[in-house]
Every structure is written in structure tokens, then in C-alpha cells.
């Protein structure tokens, strides 16, 4: 005779559904571009999530080999197109390290201002799209409204909104325009209030919290083992920010904090970005205060010919550690370029994070990793 308890036991342990494979993407709005996930499901539960990337592969590393060092700069914009200034910065700093070029003080400050503005703009997209992915369209428009102001400033400096190509070996391509300083100061006053708005609209929302808190938990050991970086790593409570840990440029002169998460869940990863934006505002304000007079371009040779050898240099990008590896054979073109793209490496955790969670959580987890496909595929 089968008792009720037995039946429940059987239902829970013995009776299983067939596993099936569900394809998500490459045309899926939540994947932020052309990206495909092949999900193996047991009922509604994820057994395995296989990331398939390469739909946006343009071979930028290979293209670089056929171009002079300066001509590669516009290509770096197109990797993480949401944070082009940071890509520029990593690339030119690698070359400067290779050639021992001195960068004037003013240029360093301009670079920090631009890099942090871009970091805010990039995080705004991340925060906004995450709000959409959880089902709240409103939050997105608030983020884009403020990102627009930052893009206007970046356009004022470089002439382009996203693909800036602003930094050069030895400095930056042009000095800050006169109308820039009052506007950026005004914006820095406005932004903290805007961050409060996002907190009220998105972070504090009960539905949002129910969908993200304790979902896709990443413990610090796994994060380190997978060499995750950026907000993803710090959400798990690992204090590793290159701006603090190994300061480059003039970051050692600014007073800012590295926000850390406690649980390593989707909510923490989302929260990291809002907290980081607040810190970026602090950095920009300090940089504006200390902005020295002087040249914006150092003494760099016209034709860039680094000595034979190799160089690896990394900076803290918007999504994690952005590293450039350059090999020079003494010619004006790089022999080999490799980029450590944080999105790509963070994406390796996708399967680990999704396993055991429900199908509906995949979008929440993927959004919290915050990938940019231009960077994943390069």
C-alpha cells in the first residue's frame, strides 16, 4: 500500500522530467546584444547554461597588427563601446609604459575626469538595463536621462559621444574646452540626487528585491578562482580595485572608498554599481579641484615605435580589470595585441551562477554580470 508520505517522497525524488535543451538568443533583448545561451533544463530548473559567444567577433586584435599604434586607438573604442575612454586609457598607458613617455600633470587629471565620467555613463546603462530586465521599464529612462548629460560633456571634449578616440600616447588629443568646467561642476552637483532617485525607483522596490536578493550567489572563493573582477568580484566582498590596490595615473591622490558587497548575490552586484558611481563623483570633484594648468600633451615621438619587447598593463575598467598585452618588434605596428576583456572573463561564471536556479532567474543573473558584447567578442 502506498501512503501519502511515500507518494510525496516518490514525486520528489524518483519521478523526474526529461531534461531538455532550450536555446536563448542570439536575438534576445536581455542579452545586451548578440549572445546565445544554451540552457539544459530539468523542468524549470537550470542544469547547465552554456554561453555561446562570437556573434560580434570582428577580430580587433588581428586588425591591430595591420595598423600603426596610433591607428589602433579608434579600434579600442569599439570593444567596450559603453566605456570607450577607459579602453583608450588602458591602451595608451600600456604604450607609455613600454616607451617610458612622461605624461603631463594636466593630461593625467583630464584622463581621470574622462575615465570616471565614462565609468558613470557605463554603470548608468548597466543599472538602467538591469531595471528593464527585472521588469521595471521606468528606471531605465531615468538612467538614460542622466547618461545623456554625461555623453553631452564627452562630446564637448572629444567630438564624439561614444567612440571617442580621445587619448593619445603622451596625453590627450585636445585640451578641455572652456565651457566644459562649469557644466561638469554643475552635473556633479546634480548627480547624487539622481542616484537617490534610482535607489528610490529601483533599489528600494520590493519586487526588484524579491527577484534579486539571494539569487545567483557567488562566493568569494569561486569568484577568485574564475578570476572575476570589477563590481562582480567586489559584490562578493573581495576588496580588489586596481585604483586602490595598484594605483595608476594619479589615482593615489584622490580620496575615495571601494564599495563592497556582503552576499555576492544579484542585488549586491547591482548595488555595487550605484555605490561606485557615487565614488566616481567624489573622484571627479577632487580632480576638478586639483586640475593643474599646463600642457595637455607630453613629449611623445610623432611616429610611435616602442622598443622590441612586450608589455602588459591593466587598469580598472567599468566591468573589471582591463588589461592590454602588446608585443613590439620595433616596427611602427604592433606585432601582437591581446586584450584581457573583463566582460568575457566574468561571463565564464554564467553556468556556475545559473545552475540550480529557475529559468526566470537566468535573465536576472545574466544582467547582473553586465556584459558588453563588443568586449566579449572583441
Amino acid at each position: 500500500m502506498i501512503t501519502g508520505t511515500d507518494l510525496r517522497d516518490r514525486l520528489e525524488h524518483d519521478i523526474k522530467t526529461d531534461r531538455y535543451v532550450l536555446n536563448m538568443g542570439p536575438q534576445h533583448p536581455a542579452t545586451h546584444g548578440v549572445f546565445r545561451v544554451v540552457l539544459t533544463l530539468d523542468g524549470e530548473v537550470i542544469v547547465n547554461a552554456e554561453a555561446v559567444c562570437g556573434y560580434l567577433h570582428r577580430g580587433i586584435e588581428k586588425l591591430a597588427e595591420a595598423r600603426t599604434y596610433t591607428q589602433v586607438i579608434p579600434y579600442t573604442d569599439r570593444m567596450d563601446y559603453l566605456a570607450a575612454m577607459l579602453n583608450n586609457l588602458g591602451y595608451v598607458q600600456t604604450l607609455e609604459k613600454m616607451m617610458g613617455v612622461e605624461v603631463p600633470e594636466r593630461a593625467e587629471y583630464i584622463r581621470v575626469i574622462c575615465a570616471e565620467l565614462t565609468r558613470i555613463a557605463s554603470h548608468l546603462i548597466s543599472v538602467g538595463t538591469y531595471s528593464i530586465e527585472i521588469g521595471g521599464i521606468t528606471g531605465f529612462f531615468y538612467c538614460l536621462r542622466d547618461r545623456e548629460k554625461i555623453l553631452d560633456l564627452i562630446e564637448m571634449i572629444s567630438g564624439s559621444r561614444m567612440t571617442v578616440s580621445y587619448m593619445r600616447v603622451g596625453g590627450v588629443s585636445e585640451d578641455l574646452p572652456a565651457e566644459f568646467l562649469p557644466q561638469v561642476k554643475k552635473l556633479m552637483k546634480e548627480l547624487p540626487a539622481a542616484f537617490d532617485e534610482y535607489d528610490g525607483l529601483i533599489t528600494g522596490n520590493e519586487i526588484f528585491q524579491a527577484r534579486t536578493k539571494f539569487v545567483g550567489v557567488l562566493n568569494p572563493e569561486t569568484a577568485i578562482n574564475y578570476s572575476a573582477s570589477g563590481p562582480m568580484l567586489r559584490a562578493s566582498g573581495v576588496n580588489w580595485d586596481l585604483r586602490k590596490a595598484r594605483p595608476y595615473s594619479v589615482y593615489d591622490r584622490f580620496d575615495f572608498e571601494v564599495p563592497l558587497g556582503r552576499n555576492g548575490d544579484c542585488f549586491d552586484r547591482f548595488r555595487m554599481r550605484i555605490l561606485e558611481m557615487r565614488q566616481s563623483v567624489r573622484i571627479i570633484e577632487q580632480a576638478l579641484e586639483g586640475l593643474p594648468e599646463g600642457p595637455f600633451m607630453g613629449k611623445a615621438p610623432k611616429v610611435i615605435k616602442p622598443p622590441v619587447g612586450e608589455m602588459y598593463h591593466e587598469i580598472e575598467g567599468a566591468r573589471g580589470i582591463l588589461g592590454y598585452y602588446l608585443v613590439s618588434d620595433g616596427s611602427p605596428k604592433p606585432y601582437r595585441m591581446h586584450v584581457r576583456r573583463p566582460s568575457f572573463i566574468n561571463l565564464g561564471l554564467l553556468s556556475e551562477l545559473c545552475r540550480g536556479w529557475k529559468l526566470a532567474d537566468v535573465v536576472a543573473i545574466l544582467g547582473s554580470v553586465d556584459i558588453v558584447l563588443g568586449e566579449v567578442d572583441c
Binding site: 595598423r67 596610433t70 591607428q71 589602433v72 586607438i73 579608434p74 579600434y75 573604442d77 521606468t138 531615468y142 536621462r145 545623456e148 553631452d152 562630446e155 564637448m156 571634449i157 572629444s158 567630438g159 564624439s160 567612440t163 578616440s165 588629443s173 585636445e174 574646452p177 532617485e197 528610490g200 525607483l201 529601483i202 528600494g204 522596490n205 520590493e206 519586487i207 526588484f208 528585491q209
Partner: protein, 144 residues
Amino acid sequence: MFGKGLATGLEITLKELFTPKVTIQYPEERAPLPARFHGRFTLDKEACIACGLCQNACPNRVINCVRTKVDKKNVLTGYHMDIQYCLFCGLCVEACPKGALRFSQDFEMACYHRENVPLVLLAEGDRPACDVSAAGGKEVKAGD
């Protein structure tokens, strides 16, 4: 209390209802463009010394500047840009020693036919100085 976060959010959206609108009704209204805006290119034909630096600076080989040598001096006789491959990075404008090549504020470059896309800043035969080639000037391709 459950629902407090929702109420806060609604309060923020309600407040936004009374703030001025930020949307610009393009094309009736236009946002002001910054002076450095990367729009369509313009070329000051008189200032250009046909050095070909812009052509060499381009990462995508967009620029083709046709030069004619007259009395050991280069004269520009044609200037074409395959603008469909242009990245608008500004390396060519930066490379110009005479400030002849510049960005304009024109960004509306969409057109109906593909053959209209390439930008001809100086067509061969446009230039009165072009009769120099008849006077024995030999055409040289920049970059050779």
C-alpha cells in the same frame, strides 16, 4: 512595511511629471552641437598642400587624395573619401598641418543610394589648377 518601496518609486515618478521635459522633438527642434563635433568633412582646397598625411593617418584607408606634381610641387587635384568606412575618429583632421581638413556640424549623412555615399571633397577636373596636368604634370598617388 511591504509596499513602502513601491510608494517611494511612485512618488519619484509623480515628481518627474512636473519637471520640464528633456526630450527634444527632432527634426523640428535640434540640440546644439559642440564646436568639436565630428560631422561631415570639409576641405579648404586653397590651404591644402597635398602632403597626404591625412591619408596615411587614416586607420581604414578611407581617404584617397590625388596629387599632381608641378615644378617639384604637389598640387591637389582630387580628394575622395569612402565615408562608409570612416570611423570619425579625427586622426586625419589632427594630422593636417595646415588645418585644411575639418569637421563640419553636418551629421545628416543618410542617403537613398549607395553610390552617393562616398564623399568627394574635390573632384578631378574641378580645379582650375588641374590644367597643370596638361602642362606636363605627372599624376602621383599619395603614399607611393
